[in-house]
Symmetry: none
Subunit: 171 residues, 2 copies
Amino acid sequence: MEEGMSDFCIQAKGLTGDNGRKCGRWNPTAEQVKILTDLFRSGLRTPTTDQIQKISSQLSFYGKIESKNVFYWFQNHKARERQKRRRVSKQKSIIQLEVPTKYFDEISQAPMEPDRVIETLQLFPLNSYNEADSAEKLRMMANECKENTTFSYAMGKEIDHPPLDLCLSFF
Amino acid sequence: MEEGMSDFCIQAKGLTGDNGRKCGRWNPTAEQVKILTDLFRSGLRTPTTDQIQKISSQLSFYGKIESKNVFYWFQNHKARERQKRRRVSKQKSIIQLEVPTKYFDEISQAPMEPDRVIETLQLFPLNSYNEADSAEKLRMMANECKENTTFSYAMGKEIDHPPLDLCLSFF
DNA sequence: ATACTATGAATGAAAG
DNA sequence: CTTTCATTCATAGTAT
């Protein structure tokens, strides 16, 4: 029964750009979020423990992060996308009969791509990607490489660091 | 280095002229707030998705509103009440050391009804309410009416519109 | 203008 | 997985 009010840790979140980010919980950096989002958009929904480990490891380059953060991130992101969709779906309003084009759901300012939940999507390194220009070929490769699937990710050029490669091994 | 970037309200606004102007966030009308507050005081704390849908739908009569607004409203209202209560109780605990129990109430100046968090409270029309004068009976009725629980609400006379009835159907 | 306040919105963490 | 809690960010409204 401890509601540990936690610490004070005044966060001077000013517009000055000087962010002495909060201490208590994980504060993802823009890069971390971008990568995670990218992986998500690529179809990753429920990463395995190994994947989480790898991702976390890679993202630690951009700032402090733990495995559980990655775990929670995907869990939350997935849940909220569903929740959002669910909430938007049944818009059987009774009263809005007279307002034909009034409701564009602001809830989703994002295109909200279809439900292509590819649990185990694979992105191969570019060099080997050339060989696979068809989905079928890709699938074949995926089969071959079952024990070492790679999520390849290239960061924007603005940041001065080597491109990121997430090598996620499945067993 | 755009840290404070708020990734919402990126609504398409400029293109169609600036008549949009209101793109930001939902600002509830007085009627909407009153109804929501009433539902809250009635014991509603965490409406289900269906309830949210219905409430939102009904409230849209008084102005633009979405499901998520209702969701957030209850979320925030509950959280802030709890937060307030927590602060008060903490004060109490400090003073408790030397002040007899009978004086506690003076310390909490807020009305703040007890923790009767009736997750699924039902308000029946007065006529049928007479029959149910016990909590048990009420519960039985609730069971019977499982597919059509009614939150009955009558607006103040100031506004020129019919009384509002929130019919929340459970399935 | 500037500071403050109330509150809508978002999300990390965790409970169920 | 779904739902809830807590804490924080952002901003409209308002007071100073």
